[in-house]
Symmetry: C2
Subunit: 444 residues, 2 copies
C-alpha cells in the first residue's frame, strides 16, 4: 500500500492520491505518514480531506506531529486544534518542546486553553491528567425528549454521547443515563426517574492504573472523574483506558526484567537514555551477585578437593533461578490481576511447596539418571547434586512466591521481585546448600 | 462490606440484605458471592433482585457458577439463561462439565441453542468463538426514523446498540452506522447516505489476538465478524476485547518466565496441573545448562591453577543473563506492540551494541575498582574478569535482541526467547569467554 502511495507521490498524481487516502482508515493513514519521508509529510497531510486530517493527526506519534506543527501555517494549526478533543490536545502538548507548546496555546480558543491548563496541572499518571472535559451533562428534571435535544445540539463535539451524566446546580454528580436507557424509555420520563444512581467513579488524583482496573472490572464504556467535592470535572473513555492497560502491562514487564519503565517506544529512545534505564539495576544486581562469589571463596578448599563439583554450579544455579522466576512471575501477575492478595499468602506457600516438591523430585530423578548413566560420576557426587537440587527448588519457589506478596504488603512494587532479583538471592542459597550437602555426603 | 453481609445473613435479616445488595454493583456482588460460604450461596443469590441476578451470574467465576447451576431449579435455570447474551452463555458452557452443559442446553430456547452450538464449533481463541450474535442490523433503504424504531423494538436484548450494521438481503456487510450518526442526522436520511462503508472487520477464524489488536489500533467500540462470503455473523464488543488483551498479556508474561500459559487463575489450579505447566521447561533448561557444566570440566585444570577464578563465575553469569534478559524482554514487548518489526533488525543490533558497550564499560569500571580496592585481588585477575564482562555483555545483548526477532521471523513465539533461554545460552558463552580471556591474560 505504501509503495502505491509513494509512486503516486512521485508522479505528483495528487488527485488519485487524495481518492486513495480518503478511502482509508485514519489509523492506517497515520502509520503511512509516520513512515513517509520527512519532506513529503506536510504535502501528504495537506492532501487529506479536511474531515479526516485531524483524526489522522491524533493517531500519529509525537515526533511526526512535531514536524507537521512546525510546517503548519497559523491557520492550519488552528484548524487542527479546533477539531481536537481536550484530552488529545493535552497528550500532544505533554510531548512537545516548550516553543511548540507556546505556539499551540497561542492558537487555541481561550476557553479550551483554560481547560488544557487545568488538566496539565494534574499529576502525571492521575485520572485528572487522563480525562477529557467533553461529556454530555444533563439535569435531573429534564425529560427524555429534552435530553435528546441537548445531545443533538452539543453531541457533535463530545468524545462520547452514549453515557450522559446527571449533575445538580453545583455540578455534583447525581447519576448516569445511557443513550440506550433514553431510547428505550418513554419520552416524557424525567432523568431522575430513569438514571442509575449507583455510579462507579474515580477521583481526579487517583492513579491511572486504578482507572484501568475499574474499566476492566465493571465493563465500563466511560468513567466519570470527580473532584474532592464530588463535582463532575471530566470523563475517561474506554479507548484511553485500553491504552493505559497496555502501558501498565509494558511497565510491569520491564520491571520484571530489571529495567526502569519508560513510555517511549524502543526505537525512539536514545542509546544513552536506554543505558540509564538499564544500568542501575545491572549494577545493583552485580554487586549483590558478588556475595555469591564470597560463598564460593569460603568453600574453596572443598572445591579444590572435589573440583568436579564446580561443573554442576551453573546447572544448580540456573535451575534454582528458573524455579524461583516461575513462581515469582506467576504471583506478580496474580497480584496485578487481583487473583491473589495478601491474605492468600499461606495458601500460596502451601501450594508452591507441593509444586516445588514435585518439580524437585522429578528433576532430581532426571539428573540422577543422567549423572549416573551418561556422565558416569561417582554416586555420592550424584547424590550431592540431586539432594541439593530438591532443597534448592523448594527454597527457590518459597522465595519466589513470598517476596512479591511481601513487597506488595509493605507498599513496594511486586513486579521488581521478579527473576533477576530472585535469581540473585536463590544463587546464594543454592551454593550454601550445595556446599553444606557436599560436606555431609562427601565428608569434605 | 463482606462482614456486614455475613452478619445480616447469620441474623437471617434477608430484608436488609436485599436492600444492601440491590444498591451494589453487579461485579462487586459477584466478588462477594464468590467468597461466600458454599452453602449460603444459593440463598444469597435468590435474595438478589431479579434484574440484577443474571448480571451478577455472568460476573462470577465458573466454579461458583457451577455450584449455583447445580442448586437451581429448572425454572431458575431458565430465567438466568433467558437473560444471558449468547457469547456469555458460550463462555459459561465452555467451562462446565458435560452433565451441566447438557442440562443448560436442555433449558435454552431452541433458537438460542442453535446459535450457541454454532459458536461452539469455532476453534478456541478464534474471533468466531468470542463473538456474540446479538447486534442491531439495518437495511440500506431504511430511514433514520426506521432505524430508531428498529433499535427501540429489538435493542433491549442487544449487547450494544451504539454501532449498528447495514447488511444486504444475503446478510453481506455493507457498512456501519453509529447511534451518534443517527442522532445527528436528519430523520428522513437513508442508511446508505449516512453509513460508513470503510468498515474494519475480522473474519470468524482469525485469532483473538488480532481482534484485540484491531480494537487497540482503531479505537473501536465493536468489531463485526464476517464469514468467508463476507456475511455478517456476529460482533465482538470492546469489553471482551479488553479481556482478551489482558489474557494475551498474561500468556506472554508466563512464556517469558518459561511457563506453559493457562487461562486459569493461580489459586484455582491444582498442584499437579501447575507442575505440568512448569516442569517441561525446567527440564529442558536444566539439560541445556549441563552444557555449561561441560565447559567448566574442560577448563578444570585452569581452575585448579587459579581457584579464585571460580568465585567470579556467578557474578559473570548473572550479569550476562540480566543484560540479555533486559534486551530480550524489551524486544519481545516491542514486537508484540508493533513498535519493532523484522526490518528493524539491524537498527536494533546497532542500538543494542552501543547500549551494551556503555553498560559493559561502566559495569567493568565499577567491578575493577571493587576488585582492586575492596577485594585486593591480583590486577591480572581483575583484568580478566572485567574484559570478560565487557565482551559477555555485548554478546548477551546481541543474543537477547536478535533471538526474539529471529523467532518471530520463522513463525515461533518470540516470548519464549526471554530470560530463561537467553540466560542458558549466555551462561555458556560467558564461561567460554572467561576461560579464553583467562588463558590470554593469566597464561593458564
Amino acid at each position: 500500500m505504501n509503495d502505491q502511495i509513494l509512486t503516486l507521490l512521485e508522479e505528483k498524481n495528487y488527485h488519485q492520491l487524495k481518492i486513495l487516502l480518503s478511502q482509508m482508515n485514519e489509523a492506517d493513514i497515520a502509520s503511512i505518514l509516520v513512515d513517509a519521508p520527512e519532506d513529503a509529510l506536510p504535502l501528504l497531510y495537506r492532501i487529506l480531506p479536511k474531515e479526516l486530517a485531524s483524526d489522522v493527526f491524533v493517531n500519529m506519534d509525537s515526533d511526526t506531529q512535531e514536524i507537521l506543527i512546525k510546517a503548519f501555517s497559523d491557520k492550519e494549526l488552528r484548524e487542527v486544534l479546533d477539531e481536537l478533543y481536550v484530552d488529545d490536545a493535552v497528550d500532544i502538548i505533554e510531548e512537545m518542546p516548550a516553543t511548540v507548546v507556546k505556539r499551540i496555546l497561542q492558537h487555541t480558543d481561550p476557553e479550551v486553553r483554560k481547560s488544557i491548563n487545568e488538566i496539565l496541572k494534574y499529576p502525571e499518571d492521575s485520572a485528572g491528567s487522563l480525562m477529557t472535559i467533553e461529556f454530555v451533562d444533563l439535569k435531573k428534571y429534564m425529560t427524555v425528549d429534552d435530553a435528546f435535544t441537548r445531545i443533538r445540539r452539543t453531541g457533535v463535539d463530545k468524545e462520547t454521547i452514549y453515557v450522559c451524566y446527571v449533575t445538580d446546580e453545583n455540578r455534583k454528580l447525581l447519576g448516569l443515563v445511557t443513550v440506550k436507557d433514553l431510547l428505550l424509555s418513554d419520552k416524557s420520563k424525567k432523568m431522575f426517574e430513569i438514571m442509575e444512581t449507583n455510579v462507579i467513579y474515580v477521583s481526579t488524583l487517583e492513579d491511572k492504573e486504578i482507572v484501568a482496573d475499574k474499566f476492566q472490572k465493571y465493563d465500563l464504556m466511560a468513567i466519570p472523574v470527580v473532584d474532592n467535592e464530588h463535582r463532575l470535572v471530566g470523563i475517561v473513555t474506554f479507548d484511553d483506558a485500553m491504552d493505559v492497560l497496555q502501558e501498565e502491562n509494558t511497565e510491569d514487564i520491564e520491571k520484571m526484567a530489571a529495567i526502569t519503565p519508560t513510555d517511549k517506544p524502543y526505537l525512539k529512545m536514545g542509546v544513552f537514555e536506554t543505558w540509564k534505564k538499564r544500568f542501575p539495576w545491572l549494577l545493583l544486581l552485580m554487586v549483590s551477585a558478588t556475595f555469591t562469589g564470597k560463598i564460593i571463596q569460603n568453600f574453596e578448599s572443598a572445591l579444590q578437593a572435589q573440583i568436579v563439583l564446580t561443573s554442576f554450579i551453573p546447572m544448580l544455579m540456573d535451575t534454582g533461578g528458573n524455579c524461583g522466576g516461575q513462581a515469582s512471575v506467576t504471583i506478580i501477575r496474580g497480584l496485578s490481576l487481583g487473583d491473589i492478595d495478601y491474605r492468600d499468602v499461606f495458601k500460596v506457600i502451601w501450594k508452591e511447596f507441593r509444586v516445588a516438591f514435585l518439580c524437585g523430585i522429578t528433576l532430581a530423578i532426571a539428573s540422577f539418571l543422567k549423572l549416573m548413566y551418561i556422565d558416569h560420576v561417582d554416586i555420592l557426587v550424584a547424590l550431592t547434586v540431586c539432594v541439593t537440587m530438591i532443597i534448592t527448588i523448594i527454597c527457590a519457589k518459597f522465595v519466589g512466591s513470598t517476596l512479591p506478596i511481601l513487597a506488595k504488603r509493605i507498599g513496594f512494587d511486586p513486579a521488581v521481585m521478579a527473576s533477576p532479583f530472585i535469581t540473585t538471592i536463590v544463587d546464594a542459597i543454592s551454593l550454601v546448600l550445595y556446599f553444606e550437602v557436599a560436606g555431609l555426603i562427601l565428608k569434605i
